[in-house]
């Protein structure tokens, strides 16, 4: 146990055993998969049409926003060129689905159906439609385990999008709560501030939303502020997640160039420069 906790020699043993247990996990997730399948098949025409109309509307809205984004991004790059800071935006994403099994209830983690075969790697950032969800911790050829940002052993570097104040968002073990420790008493942070990833740790791509600050309490007797934030991602509700590759990672260039040759990677994002 100690060896597994402190070092990572056991990763091969674990991934070997996971491959053996994959059938069991598949069997366990079968009822849910089957019910999804049934509801997909048995959806009425009417439902599908309304849904379709909804999606079309949403698509239009998103496209409109994307146009603006492209313009903004170009402007941003131009400004950055002016001040000669090397900063590239560009990520690639792959959609993965959750495998419907319950893992250890005392740890916030989920199993997704993409593994090293699809180019996923340990430490990779995982997002849902709204915000950052967590990172990949264990990996097998077919599945990977994602540790959520709210797990007590997880922390990620963030910054306040309003003013760029840097901090660390530490998981509390409660599903709707993140904590920002060690903020000085005069730090400029208030309720409703959006926290985005700062990209400083090298694991997470910068600029993705993480959480919204819900309470800031200042106790004059304490050396630090207590700031609590609620994750914006639907941590316990999403069915699909996005695995993200940063195109210019600060650390592992080898890993990404390897995965970029992967044929299975579906949509290279429009964000790419």
């Amino acid at each position: 146990m100690a060896v597994d906790h402190r070092q990572h020699h056991m990763e091969t043993v674990r991934s070997f055993l996971s491959v053996l247990t994959y059938p069991l996990q598949y069997v366990a997730s079968f009822p849910v998969t089957a019910s999804h399948w049934m509801s997909d098949r048995l959806a009425t025409r009417d439902q599908l049409q309304t849904e379709n109309a909804q999606f079309r509307e949403e698509n239009l809205l998103l496209h409109a926003r994307l146009q603006k984004l492209a313009a903004l991004e170009a402007e941003n790059m131009r400004l950055r060129d002016l001040v000669e800071s090397s900063f590239k935006i560009g990520d690639r994403a792959l959609i993965a689905e959750l495998v419907a099994v319950d893992m250890d209830p005392y740890k916030h983690q989920v199993l997704i159906n993409k593994g090293s075969r699809s180019g996923a790697f340990v430490g990779q950032a995982v997002l849902d439609a709204n915000a950052v969800m967590g990172q990949v911790t264990h990996i097998t050829p077919l599945t990977s385990t994602v540790l959520m940002i709210t797990d007590a052993s997880h922390a990620l570097p963030v910054q306040v999008s309003r003013n760029g104040l840097r901090s660390i968002a530490v998981g509390t073990g409660r599903i709707h709560q993140l904590e920002l420790p060690h903020l000085p008493n005069n730090a400029d942070i208030q309720e409703g501030d959006l926290l985005v990833t700062s990209g400083l740790g090298g694991h997470f791509p910068p600029g993705y939303p993480v959480a919204v600050v819900t309470s800031v309490t200042q106790d004059p007797g304490q050396p630090f502020l207590t700031a609590i934030a609620t994750p914006s991602a639907h941590l316990e509700r999403s069915r699909e997640v996005l695995l993200v590759w940063t195109l210019e990672p600060p650390v592992d260039t080898a890993l990404v160039s390897e995965s970029s040759t992967e044929p299975e990677v579906a949509d290279s994002e429009a964000l790419e420069r």
């Binding site: 146990m1 597994d4 906790h5 056991m10 043993v13 674990r14 055993l17 996971s18 053996l20 247990t21 069991l24 996990q25 069997v27 366990a28 997730s29 009822p31 849910v32 419907a100 099994v101 319950d102 893992m103 250890d104 209830p105 005392y106 740890k107 983690q109 199993l111 911790t137 264990h138 385990t145 007590a152 052993s153 509390t172 073990g173 316990e236």
Partner: protein
């Protein structure tokens, strides 16, 4: 003297079923009441066939469970091997108990497993779970008589010796 064993497949199948039940998705509310299926099945086989099922099998089941639920390798294995050991120590007495008394013994064994798991959680720096953490042993105790009867009949049916 050579003793012939039968029904390894049945034992394996019962453990597999227990593993699947452990990771079967449940609504959030029911999740904290999920009985310790693997521990229950392990206790039954340790009582019924102490010369076949023991610490080794408990340990391997624990490892598989660790991998499936994504805990530290050995976190379940430690508890389950201790449960197997205690059951082996107690099996001669426990077998003769009436079912309700057996259920009480099982409660204690399940508590031991939970306690070791909690200790491992604490050692790994996880947050201490709420009091509901202690609910599964009670559910396990209530389930024990039924589980015992079902597994005993299965054992007789498939002549597991």
């Amino acid at each position: 003297m050579l003793v012939r064993h039968h029904g390894a497949f049945t034992i394996l199948a019962s453990f597999m079923l227990a593993l699947v039940l452990t990771i079967l998705p449940l609504p959030d509310l029911a999740q904290s009441f999920r009985p310790q299926w693997v521990a229950l099945v392990l206790i039954y086989w340790c009582l019924a066939l102490p010369e076949r099922v023991g610490i080794g099998i408990g340990w391997s089941c624990g490892l598989v469970l660790d991998v499936m639920t994504g805990t530290l390798l050995g976190q379940h294995a430690l508890g389950l091997s201790l449960v197997a050991f205690l059951t082996l120590k107690l099996h001669q007495r426990t077998r003769l108990f009436p079912l309700w008394q057996q259920a009480l013994t099982v409660l204690v064994l399940l508590f031991v497993e939970r306690l070791l798991f909690l200790w491992a959680l604490g050692a790994a720096g996880q947050a201490t779970p709420s009091l509901w953490y202690w609910a599964p042993p009670f559910i396990g105790m209530l389930l024990w008589p039924w589980l015992y009867i079902v597994l005993r009949d299965t054992q007789r049916r498939f002549r597991v010796t």
